[in-house]
Symmetry: C2
Subunit: 327 residues, 2 copies
Amino acid sequence: MDKAVVAVDLGGTKIYTALAGADGRVLAEVLVPTRPWEGVDAVIGRIVGTVDQVLERAGKGGRPAALGIGCPGPLDAASGLVHHAPNLDWHDVPLKDLLEKRLGIPVAVDNDANLAALGEYVYGAGRGEKDMVYITVSTGIGGGLILDGRLYHGAGFGAGEIGHMTIDPGGPRCNCGNSGCLEAMASGTAMAREARLLIESGRGRAILEAAGGDVCAVTAREVARAAAGGDDEARQIIINAGRALGTGVANVINLLNPALVVLGGGAMQVGPLIWETMEEEISRRALAAARRRVRLVPAELGPRSGLMGAVALALQKSGGIFRSGMV
Amino acid sequence: MDKAVVAVDLGGTKIYTALAGADGRVLAEVLVPTRPWEGVDAVIGRIVGTVDQVLERAGKGGRPAALGIGCPGPLDAASGLVHHAPNLDWHDVPLKDLLEKRLGIPVAVDNDANLAALGEYVYGAGRGEKDMVYITVSTGIGGGLILDGRLYHGAGFGAGEIGHMTIDPGGPRCNCGNSGCLEAMASGTAMAREARLLIESGRGRAILEAAGGDVCAVTAREVARAAAGGDDEARQIIINAGRALGTGVANVINLLNPALVVLGGGAMQVGPLIWETMEEEISRRALAAARRRVRLVPAELGPRSGLMGAVALALQKSGGIFRSGMV
């Protein structure tokens, strides 16, 4: 088979696998549940199963040239060892070795945020730029850095933790133990927390109504719905998140002077208000020259960004050239 | 002449020029005043004069292979155009072209903070690491980034502006127009400002005494002296600066996962308290894995870091190999 590769986006709930040609075009794809509680071997077996399925669906025989896989981290992208993946309940799993043994083809591993960045860079909103920051605003906030045309990993494969940048030293507690992290102030989880606090203090009527009267059902989506209906309390929650996000993005712009910041993730869908507020805050806090140089754009690949990054990684591993200048 | 190069560190008050061998060893150096008020041509002439002087002092004939020069920015390191250097009162000065015309040798230009980073990387505290962040804490706060073994410039040659990262959105006003920038909270200027505010409010006796009773003579040095004498108010000013610095450095550690952070600049000399407080705050705010991976070390080259970076730049320009892996 001429240089087709397999890409896998491994998450806590689902395994998303694709077969792609040397041009990056997806030939077949399949989605199966992860079921991490069945153990590492079962998950590995299920990944191997999806490889057979995409080959079959595409009507291809033979072996693919390589496999690229994105996995929640932290992990060592060189050895392919997953140090700790809470969603999978994995500790020190040699993902690369296990898959290479089962499949007999070269395997490359990277973390999911890095591959989402790579996916947008090669096939999405980042095409044509060589200094790009990718930020995903979802239940958490993560990111990946393309610097001088290459995915930048840092000394311990931990670069890109934009969500744990301190935005306000006196801000709310974060899951990481720190306080005032961007993630604790602008993620979907943070917006939901603020809405619930509001409701518990006897306010936030419109948000509670949007959640059918069940405070436990309040997520960023209900905040978005109330805000779309003109509710000021919901709008203020989104404005606060947008401001924190803008402060964080301005910090990254001042530090890295990127040509492009690509923003994705479900929590960016709460409405245009979060984007507008973010832009205002960036204009306030970024240095003028760096602000002029940078474009802020939404991600283009949606839930497929990580998968397409795994395609790019697999093509790189197979020796295919998927973009001039990439290493 | 076999591959000797000239390095220049151009500042608002002095021109510091060295002749160095292909191994980076300095053969001769000279320091002359800049006198920017005499105009661009006069300053260029004075730089050219220092080149003749170092050649003469070293007893060398012929022409050096290249010249590297560090200049306050912002500037375009590719074309060698200095957009704006307030200390020199320069606007759009084609520094590279002007020097090449006068000297007839290849000239490379970069900003002073980047060259200080490069100097520490090649000849100082950064030897042996390929992901290094350099931070200088002085009247302002600047920095330079060595990422994957290369000086990282960003899309508009503006990367490394660590001093303008927002540390506290409600913090004091910064010269850049923003509020709560690291520079406005942890620079020598910031410490002096806090001390003067204290004195103007009728406190800060020990600091005022250290300044001979003249509030206008208060700088970070007088704060340091009072703190060394055990004064609690002075100590608190240094502690606050150290905390802000630690927050900023933690942000950079989380974002870039460097192996090394090198800290230099005069304001780091206010005593061990600033370093200790910074380390505490970093341990509080940096992600555990990234914190474990990074070493925090003082700069080794002091006021020569920029000059030595210019040596490295000149050797690079001349085609000399000054460190394996450098590009």
